[in-house]
């Protein structure tokens, strides 16, 4: 086996995109995948693994796997991850490996946005957006489709603006009605788009960036970093250059791969729990049922592989998740449920 046939795998399963990164032992990126989750995380993870295998071949060895993102638990179960970490830590680790000097990370994804403050390579403060999705990629997607342009054209068009209009960015509902007013007054499309970018950046800084000590170098990562209009708006607002790292859209996955490397490297001799590259061929199934044990009626999810139970979660009391990894799949579950519910 060739030496450079060994990789660490990082997987970031978010609400909008599922990203995978293959990291060589010398810390260079071999492959980076950016796939749309489309609400089917299990299938997409399998598809991703298939794609990776077709690129690196069967003989390649995966030395460790890290999972992150909002579906990290699911991903970890499916893949057999060695380390499962939240997105904040993953993003911070990736950025500080790429550039140890970085002090601020702006991250805007599909459904959430966050700011991470680093000092000397360690997270010292962070914030995530609350219930409101006004400052995220989905909002931009929505507005682009309303204006009838592709999301890829959004940024370049915004850069053409001469006189960006002022749009209320506090709330996406107000922003939309404000935008329609400006359209009807005859403002040009680039001016409106640039105005939207500025509104979004203002909203982000007021909301997520409130009270944060933003110092350079500043990294901008996440899917929205592909939009040069937003980058420009950030630079204007912060008065500092914004760095978009090379793998800006898969930084979470990259961080997970680094964490897997850290974990496996720290304990020599341990083998990865990765379930193998032929994962794409096996049959995974997720089933859910309402537990009738108490009035909470928790929705319990069970993941099975070829009829064998891998994991369960969703219960508040822990009775299913602890009973967990038995050989009894969902058919056996119903009996058990009756027994315990009685």
């Amino acid at each position: 086996m060739l030496v450079d046939d060994k990789y660490f795998l990082g997987v970031d399963v978010g609400s909008v995109s599922t990203n995978m990164v293959l990291l060589r032992p010398d810390n260079t990126v071999k492959e980076a995948l950016y796939l749309r989750t489309q609400g089917r995380p299990m299938q997409i993870i399998q598809e991703g693994i298939k794609l990776l295998r077709s690129k690196i071949g069967k003989s390649a060895e995966i030395m460790g796997v890290g999972a992150t993102g909002s579906a990290r638990q699911l991903a970890a179960t499916l893949l057999g991850a060695d380390v499962v970490k939240n997105e904040i830590t993953a993003h911070a680790v990736a950025a500080s490996r790429v550039n140890p000097q970085v002090q601020t990370i702006l991250e805007i994804g599909g459904q959430d946005s966050k700011i991470i403050i680093l000092r000397d390579g360690v997270v010292s403060d962070f914030a995530m957006n609350t219930v409101c999705a006004a400052g995220t990629g989905s909002f931009l997607d929505q507005q682009a489709s309303r204006l009838g342009i592709k999301i890829e054209e959004f940024g370049p068009l915004a850069l053409e603006a001469k006189n960006p209009v002022r749009i209320a960015g506090r709330c996406s509902v107000f922003a939309e009605s404000d935008m329609i007013h400006k359209q009807q007054l005859g403002h040009s499309l680039p001016d409106i788009l640039a105005g939207l970018c500025q509104a979004m950046v203002r909203n982000y800084l007021n909301n997520v960036g409130k009270n944060k000590d933003i110092k350079g170098p500043i990294f901008f990562q996440g899917g929205v970093a592909a939009n040069p209009g937003i980058c420009k708006a950030f630079e204007e607002e912060l008065g500092q250059p914004i760095i978009v790292p090379e793998n800006y859209d898969v930084m979470g996955a990259l961080g997970a791969a680094y964490l897997a490397q850290e974990k496996v490297g720290s304990r020599p001799g341990t083998r990865t729990q990765f379930r193998g590259l032929d994962l794409g061929e096996t049959h995974f199934l997720a089933k859910s049922f309402d537990c009738t044990g108490c009035a909470n009626r928790c929705e319990v999810v069970e993941i099975t592989q070829d009829g064998r139970s891998l994991a369960r979660w969703g219960d508040r009391c822990g009775k299913w998740s602890v009973a967990g990894v038995a050989d009894t799949a969902i058919s056996g579950l119903e009996q058990k449920e009756e027994q315990q519910g009685a």
């Binding site: 939240n86 997105e87 962070f126 995530m128 219930v131 009035a295």
Partner: protein
């Protein structure tokens, strides 16, 4: 006679007083069950959309009270001199009448400690008249209530277990055959004493509240009692936190400490809960052994909107990791778990980075760089 007491809002602070009060009068107090999905859903349906989560939960608990003769909804205006309770407390019971099942009588009383003990007694006598109790009995019941409350308050402190203490009170309140005695609560002083004289206390099946392991993180959780101890609505936050760290609560800080930590404010805080939260938060911010502060609030809380900002400033002055968690009616755990994990990760990585200096001075780190 059976009086229904909803397990929400003031239950978390003042239940022992009312339990003792009614116990002395020979009235059984029935509490609603711990919050579950149906209670929350019922509450969301009946309460005003504009109000906050704790009030919505109260609306749910009112409907969960079955087989009772009265539903007890006191209007607690003030619990001590110079302060008021949150304005939403003052709107009870009127704001919650839509949630009361038709035909169910509501028992209420206005309590205002600002006007002094005499006025409180007078108001309680009016309540007593409705229950056909004479004044002398009300006076005795009042003292009994105070005694129960005091006893309960004495259980707070290191190793305090809210569920355990309150369960004991509920048991005593239900048992009318028992001679009218204060419930057998272990106060924290007794607990400390028991520990010092090395007589092992009965082991609790639950997780240990205070783990002696010095390597564990120490995190302060500040917020209203009806949020920090409402384990359904806060998605078991306290328990999740205790799995990873030793947790300090607002209730563990006694009144004198709260008062001394209020200095430095240009103006007095006039809400009693906020005063407690700020005083405790300030103490935690200055306490070097507390490694991070989590502020638990809920969407639409008016008093927190100001106090949260005040606490965050104190935390920032002390370079203390600080995070706000805002609760609403959502039941998705993922967001909460992500934030919690990230916060604990941050505190832990920071500790490694700074070279943790043990308070026992055993392992001073030459690389330690104070902020």
């Amino acid at each position: 006679m059976r009086i229904g007491f909803p397990r929400a809002l003031y239950y978390f602070d003042h239940f022992p007083f009312w339990a003792g009060f009614f116990h002395r009068l020979g009235i059984e107090v029935v509490t609603s069950p711990a919050t579950h999905r149906q209670i929350m859903e019922q509450g969301l349906k009946k309460a005003s959309d504009e109000t906050c989560l704790p009030l919505k939960l109260l609306a749910g608990h009112i409907q969960a009270l079955k087989d009772v003769d009265w539903i007890f909804l006191p209007r607690i205006v003030s619990v001590e001199a110079d302060t008021y309770t949150c304005p939403k407390f003052l709107g009870i019971p009127e704001s919650l009448l839509p949630a009361v099942p038709p035909g169910m009588p509501v028992l209420t009383v206005t309590l205002n400690w600002r006007k002094g003990k005499r006025q409180v007694l007078k108001d309680l006598e009016v309540l007593g008249a409705q229950l056909s109790q004479d004044k002398a009995d009300i006076r005795k019941a009042f003292n009994e209530g105070l005694e129960w409350q005091q006893r309960y308050q004495d259980t707070m402190g290191a190793g305090w277990n809210f569920e355990e203490s309150i369960r004991e009170i509920e048991r005593a309140a239900k048992d009318l055959t028992e001679s009218a005695k204060v419930p057998t609560l272990v106060t924290w002083k007794e607990r400390m004493f028991a520990k010092m004289s090395s007589t092992a206390l009965k082991p609790t099946a639950e997780l240990p509240i205070v783990d002696q392991n010095r390597d564990r993180l120490r995190i302060a959780l500040v917020g209203h009692s009806y949020l920090t101890h409402e384990s359904y609505a806060n998605l078991n936050l306290l328990r999740k936190l205790r799995e990873k760290a030793n947790v300090e609560l607002v209730q563990n800080v006694n009144q004198e400490e709260v008062e001394t930590n209020l200095s430095g404010l240009r103006k007095k805080l006039f809400w009693s809960h906020s005063k407690q939260i700020f005083g405790a938060g300030n103490k935690f911010a200055e306490d070097q052994s507390v490694e991070g502060i989590i502020y638990l609030t809920c969407f639409g809380c008016g008093t927190d909107s100001m106090v949260q900002e005040l606490v965050s400033r104190r935390a920032r002055e002390q370079h203390k990791p600080y995070m706000v968690i805002t609760l609403d009616e959502h039941s998705g755990e993922a967001g909460l778990v992500t934030r919690l994990e990230a916060f604990l990760d941050m505190v832990e990585r920071r500790r490694v980075h700074e070279g943790y200096v043990s308070t026992y001075g055993e392992c001073l780190d030459r690389d330690s760089n104070a902020l």
